[in-house]
């Protein structure tokens, strides 16, 4: 098919046209991005806190920061992909609660080995995700309604299984691992290792795979995605299953790091996850976002919370600050998008004007 060039060009000096890959230089694309703004804000918050907040620089602060935000960091990975498709998963924290209870009961009551109990707990997370995915992707129900339902359902099952009791007996090797540091004198807890692995996997999945391109296309225009051969239903179902699996893993981690398996574990955590994802620059309408922005968003919230706690602020004040930040960030997305549209519209019109002008000249010659 190399002779496709329409004859219309044969009467002109037809040099095969080449295109610039990018309309803006690299540094502009990096600096004028939503993700960069969040990362810059994170760096500013860390630098400020280290110099101005007493004990922020201390040996325990960063360790607890990572240990406590690890759940949100982990859950944000699949949540980012789900929100990019234009869906949402409100049931993740309930899945964490359910799998925590399941892990505790399977180990303590059923007497299974910790490994078997953990695998089954993750399997339950997968089932929870598959249930959401089936109703959303194949039955076609709206994800916000389905996962509000399963938010109550999964938490309800957890409470039904364990009531107000809890399980606290876990193998010491496991609970120690959850609290251990990677390097003795560094503030990085062990959980960062599985997190790093999963973060790489999700980065490749979302940003460097054909499957990931499909995720964005579904969020931007699911009909066009369908017409292009993207399996919209299967893509969504896979993402919800991944979300359930990660929630299962977080359920086990939460149990180990707190030493308690109970039904109320991580109640309300889904909102922290979604808040961080949105702060990180993912559009709630789908189609836009990047994982590095989201991870910076999670850490930014964590740093602000910890710095304010160290400063002696109450949790209410902290919530007000985080809430205002989130509203501002959501507003900035629309403002930034509007500004970019104006710039791009003028840019696009100018370039097409230029090329139509040259086309006119060519046809005259």
């Amino acid at each position: 098919m190399s002779t496709l060039t329409p004859e219309s060009t044969s009467d002109s000096p037809s040099v095969a046209r080449t295109y610039a890959a990018f309309s803006r230089p690299m540094w502009q694309r990096v600096i004028f991005s939503r993700e960069f703004a969040v990362i810059a804000l994170l760096i500013a918050a860390v630098v400020y806190s280290r110099s101005e907040v007493a004990y922020f620089d201390g040996p325990q602060t960063m360790y607890y920061l990572f240990r406590d935000t690890a759940s949100v960091l982990l859950l944000a990975l699949p949540m980012t992909a789900i929100i990019i498709t234009g869906e949402i998963d409100l049931s993740v924290a309930s899945t964490v609660g359910l799998t925590s209870v399941a892990f505790g009961m399977l180990y303590d009551d059923a007497g299974l080995s910790a490994t078997t109990a953990a695998l089954i707990a993750i399997g339950i997370g997968v089932l929870c995700g598959a249930f959401n995915g089936f109703l959303i992707a194949y039955v076609g129900l709206p994800s916000i309604a389905v996962t509000i339902g399963t938010l109550a359902l999964f938490r309800g099952i957890a409470a039904g299984l364990l009531g107000t009791e809890s399980r606290t007996d876990f193998p010491e090797a496991w609970t120690d691992w959850a609290k251990e540091r990677i390097f003795e004198d560094q503030p990085y807890p062990m959980i960062l290792i599985p997190f790093a692995v999963l973060a790489i996997v999700f980065t490749l999945l979302i940003h460097f795979s054909p499957f990931g391109r499909g995720i964005f296309e579904i969020g931007q225009n699911d009909e066009a995605a369908h017409f292009t051969g993207v399996n919209v239903a299967r893509t969504k179902a896979i993402l919800f299953v991944l979300s359930g699996a990660v929630a299962g893993f977080v359920g086990i981690y939460t149990t180990l790091v707190t030493g308690v398996a109970r039904a109320e574990n991580s109640t309300g955590l889904e909102l922290s996850v979604i808040a961080a994802v949105l702060l990180g620059g993912v559009s709630i309408f789908g189609g836009k976002g990047a994982l590095h922005g989201v991870l910076a968003g999670v850490l930014l919230i964590g740093v602000i919370q910890r710095a304010m706690l160290l400063n002696g602020e109450t949790i209410n004040v902290i919530n007000i600050v985080i809430g205002v930040l989130l509203v501002l960030s959501v507003m900035s997305t629309s403002l930034l998008a509007a500004a970019r549209r104006v710039v791009e519209a003028s840019r696009g019109a100018r370039s097409s004007g230029r090329s139509s002008h040259s086309a006119g000249k060519r046809s005259l010659s």
Binding site: S209, P210, Q220, N221, A349
Partner: protein, 519 residues
């Protein structure tokens, strides 16, 4: 009136003189000039990007002009909102009206100014009666009580027109109103337009279809590159002259299908059925052949194409490509079998307008562009660049979003995306709808070249000249059935329209009994 300035005593409904509008550094309109007389239907023609839409938006109060004279009914005006232009008496009917789907027809007409009865309650009886009176005046049959959802685009336009009349608009602007209408609907719209003209209103009609311009309008203004070119009486001009003025050059041949060697059967569709949509659809497309699927809008042509490609399912029947059956409702299977599908609605189905040109072009082939399962923007750009170049897509860079491009350029991106898959069969639904004349002939040449290289092409088109010019064989669809199969030699506007409107039942019966003989 061939020179609009020759009769200064004539009172114009709308008078624009050297109106300019820039967006940033881009001059969308340089010198827009348009004078619309009352009791006249005035055509506004020009390629996409000629500035017609900007001109209309200034009149409608969407944009404010930067410079120039703008008079409405003899008074200098400067509309700053659509509400202001509406209350002054300007009505714009767009290609696809935006109604409230869950409200009734009458509620849509009287939105925001419902007649009130006792205790300021909405007087529904009066609203329905007034709606009925409006429809009667327009000579159309529409139930004012039914919800707007499910109405055809033609009926939705009629509602917009009824709204305009109830507001006593002195000027109606119709922006490509016929693009999505069937022949009968166009006739009805034209009858309404003529009666409005006879009431002394001024009408502006924007269309890419010259036969309609010549059929309906009395005056025509040509625009090119944001500037006024000419205004002339329809009776004193010709299609060739208008096209030459629009593009600034002579377009000798609009439909240049050259004969190609017709080869083996590529696509074989047998007894395809979907209840209530299409019935007993059987046809073949051979290598090197362009098969035209003609018929009225809503006859089921697009639905047949969508079923063949697998974006929709079907109840029974088989689709076979090169001897292999394709699983139903599985676009990926169809793509693997070598089918490419350029759909009807570019912006909704054809491409992702928020994604870059490169990602759109590489969208179908991206699975083959991976290294160790990983896909990079670099690989997409490398694959997309040559295809963009082959189709002469006008863009400054491969990461530009498709949203900012003209319709013709977007269509090139969609075609590039599918040609990149190296298809054996190209299904193309309305290949040139809403595309400027220059790009249109490029698309036609391209289709002709592709057929010459042995590609089988199934082309759906509502433009008869396009079907007659391009197709080796024409299948006419009427109410979900193929009612005629005409060779290039025997196809003419009359027999296609007859089959499409089922005007000749005897003919249809003959074709149907032919089809029942198993091939």
């Amino acid at each position: 009136m061939s020179d609009p300035t020759a009769r200064p005593e004539q009172a114009f409904v709308l008078e624009l003189q050297d109106v300019a509008k820039s967006f940033g550094a881009v001059a969308a309109l340089r010198s827009g000039t348009l004078r619309v007389a009352p009791g006249s239907i005035h055509a506004l023609v020009g390629e996409n990007g000629a500035g017609k839409s900007t001109l209309v938006k200034i009149v409608a109060g969407v944009h404010r002009r930067d410079a120039g004279v703008f008079e409405f009914q003899g008074k200098a005006v400067d509309f700053s909102s659509t509400a202001e232009s509406k209350s002054a008496g300007v009505a714009v009917i767009y290609q696809e009206p935006t109604l409230f789907p869950d409200l009734s027809v009458a509620e849509n007409i009287f939105m925001g100014r419902q007649p009130l009865g006792a205790a300021r309650r909405i007087d529904r009886a009066r609203m329905y009666a007034e709606s009925e009176a409006l429809f009667e005046r327009l000579g159309v049959v529409l139930d004012p009580r039914r919800p707007a959802r499910g109405l055809s685009i033609a009926d939705q336009q009629i509602i917009e027109i009824a709204k305009a009349i109830s507001l006593d608009a002195a000027l109606l602007i119709m922006d490509e109103p016929t693009a999505a209408l069937s022949g009968v609907e166009v006739d009805r719209l034209f009858a309404v337009a003529r009666s409005l003209r006879d009431e002394g209103r001024g009408l502006v009609f924007i269309s890419h279809r010259f036969e309609e311009v010549f059929d309906l309008c009395d005056t025509v203004t040509v625009m090119r590159d944001g500037s006024y070119v000419s205004t002339q009486q329809i009776a004193e001009t010709s299609v060739d002259k208008l096209v030459a003025e629009m593009v600034g050059r002579e377009v000798t041949e609009l439909f240049p299908k050259t004969p190609a060697e017709i080869g083996e059967v590529v696509l074989d569709v047998a007894d395809l059925n979907t209840a209530g949509v299409f019935h007993d659809v059987s046809f073949q497309v051979r290598a090197g052949e362009i098969v035209g699927l003609a018929g009225l809008v809503g006859a089921g042509r697009s639905e047949i194409a969508r079923a063949v490609f697998g974006v929709d399912s079907y109840d029974s029947g088989t689709v076979t490509m090169n001897g292999h059956r394709i699983a139903p409702r599985n676009p990926r299977a169809a793509i693997r079998a070598g089918i490419a599908f350029v759909p009807e609605d570019r912006r909704k189905q054809g491409l992702v307008t928020e994604a870059s040109v490169a990602r759109n072009i590489a969208a179908v082939i991206r699975r083959g562009l991976t290294t160790a399962g990983l896909l990079t923007t670099r690989a997409e750009n490398r694959a997309a660049g040559p295809w963009a170049a082959k189709l002469e897509v006008k863009t400054s860079a491969l990461d530009m979003h498709a949203a900012t491009m003209s319709g013709g350029n977007q269509q090139k991106v969609v075609i590039a995306k599918w040609l990149a898959t190296d298809p054996k069969l190209l299904i193309i639904d309305e290949p040139t709808r809403g595309i400027d004349v220059g790009t249109k002939s490029e698309v036609h040449r391209l289709l002709s070249d592709l057929a010459g290289q042995g590609l089988a092409i199934l082309m759906i088109s509502s433009e008869l000249p396009e079907v007659l010019g391009m197709a080796d064989r024409v299948l006419v669809v009427h109410e979900g059935r193929i009612t005629a199969e005409l060779d290039r030699a025997e196809a003419n506007p009359e027999n296609i329209m007859r089959a499409a409107t089922n005007a000749d039942p005897a003919h249809q019966a003959a074709v149907q009994s032919d089809e029942e003989v198993p091939a």
